[in-house]
């Protein structure tokens, strides 16, 4: 087992991911949700699956998955969650 490679990939991804969109999303969703555990599970599975697909598919991943459309869908999803939070607490 190449521990140096393991450490290198850990540190690289860790530094790339600190303060990134998905960590901010984990902070936001984990704070607002009644189920921080569900948020943790959901984001972990999503992130690991995304990087797994990256390793498996290599460069071909961009060809069969329209990245911009997926990101736009995610953006809409976050916007809906934000609006729902404001909306629901106002009408309460």
């Amino acid at each position: 087992m190449d521990l140096q490679l393991l450490g290198l990939s850990f540190i690289t991804v860790f530094l790339a991911e600190i303060g990134d969109k998905s960590q901010l999303a984990a902070i936001a969703l984990g704070g607002s949700s009644k189920y921080p555990r569900a948020v943790f599970l959901g984001s972990t599975v999503a992130l690991v699956l995304a990087s797994f697909l990256g390793v498996i598919a290599g460069g071909g991943v961009a060809q069969f998955l329209p990245e911009k459309i997926l990101k736009a869908i995610a953006a809409i999803g976050f916007a809906i969650m934000a609006l729902r939070l404001v909306w629901c607490s106002e009408s309460e």
């Binding site: 991804v13 860790f14 936001a28 995304a50 390793v55 976050f78 939070l85």
Partner: protein, 143 residues
């Protein structure tokens, strides 16, 4: 007991509201402890709607973060590193551990913040943060 649960579906929203209030002040994993014993029927309905809600939280988190991460720099870093090295398995293992720790850190920070802020301030802060992420993602899409 099961049929009682099924019948409660139309009023689920109402119980969801009650559940929100109970949870906000109590332990997230054991809402039934805060309910009086005389309300045991309600407790069952509460639990059924809570169970549904756990998976809603899970799936909405999963879908948004998965879609946001596709083609993002983390995925590209993993992709490049595994392509360069002879052992993609180790790269994936390191990346997976890093991703688990960052999301655990994020959720812990969020949970800690939720204890510090009042519910109203928290909702507003989270909404602004989510809209910020939306803007960030949209700038990725447009540029």
């Amino acid at each position: 007991m099961e049929t009682a649960n099924l019948k409660s579906i139309p009023s689920e929203e109402k119980f969801q509201d009650t559940a929100n209030k109970v949870i906000r002040h109590g332990e997230p994993s054991s809402p039934s402890l805060t309910v009086q014993p005389s309300q045991s029927h309600k407790t069952l309905e509460l639990q059924s709607s809570l169970k549904w809600s756990f998976w809603t939280v899970f799936s909405s988190t999963f879908i948004t973060i998965f879609f946001a991460e596709m083609g993002d720099k983390t995925q590209l870093v993993t992709l490049l590193m595994s392509a360069e090295s002879q052992s993609p398995g180790i790269v994936f293992l390191g990346a997976a551990m890093a991703l688990i720790s960052t999301s655990l850190l994020g959720v812990i920070i969020g949970y800690w913040l939720s204890k510090k802020l009042s519910p109203k301030t928290l909702d507003l802060t989270v909404a602004i943060l989510l809209l910020f992420i939306t803007g960030w993602l949209m700038s990725d899409v447009i540029c």
